[in-house]
Amino acid sequence: MEIKLFGITKDIVGSDTVPVPENIQVLNVKELKAWLYQQYPGLAKLSALAVAVNHAYAVDSTALDSTTEVALIPPVSGG
């Protein structure tokens, strides 16, 4: 699974994607966020961090698998 990054999350990670290694099991959004916060503590300092699954806002319990498109959505600031 590869996570797409936008805005400040790209700066924190230093790339525009994060690959989740095969041996790491993240079955839902909550587990993914826990893993990401461990790898990139800077993400935990944001005012908020949402996750999008297949182009829609997901909740903690939203399931993830290799076919889903996953992206981190830091606080938006359009307009």
């Binding site: 936008f6 805005g7 400040i8 700066d11 005012s47 806002y57 992206a71 938006v76 359009g78 307009g79």
Partner: protein, 136 residues
């Protein structure tokens, strides 16, 4: 008309709102200003979007607005890329039979766009840059 563009064409947005039954057109244009939260010296803004999701969120907001107000025509256009002070970056327009519905629906759409549509702006100052809203 809902889309993300490089450069906003205000005439195109206005033309897209024409409808024979619409007697009121409200247009909101958001532009780049040279100051933010009391700090002056903004020289440029960069806008980035998660494009497929942004369009999907804008479409969902349009549907919500259409269920609340009798909207004849609707426009939501956001620009991405680098913008200078004074450049238009977002244009929201609604055309309704009467002005009250046009004003209210237009305000609703820009307010909601700012809350949920995955678009980010980076402010450039003389000596540093800031992703807006990122940190408490």
């Amino acid at each position: 008309m809902i889309k993300l563009v490089t450069t906003i064409d205000i005439n195109e947005a206005y033309s897209a709102l024409h409808h024979p039954e619409a007697g009121g057109l409200a247009l909101f244009i958001g532009t780049v200003r040279n100051h933010t939260s009391g700090k002056s010296g903004v020289t440029q803004l960069d806008f980035e979007g998660y494009e497929p999701m942004a369009v999907r969120e804008m479409e969902a907001l349009a549907q919500k607005a259409q269920s609340k107000w009798p909207i004849k025509k609707l426009v939501m256009i956001h620009a991405l890329g680098s913008k200078k002070v004074g450049d238009p970056v977002v244009i929201i327009g609604t055309a309704t039979a009467h002005r009250k519905d046009a004003f209210e629906s237009c305000e609703f759409l820009i307010d909601e766009l700012k809350k949920s549509v995955p678009i980010w702006k980076k402010e450039h100052f003389e000596d540093h840059t800031v992703w807006v809203n990122s940190h408490p």
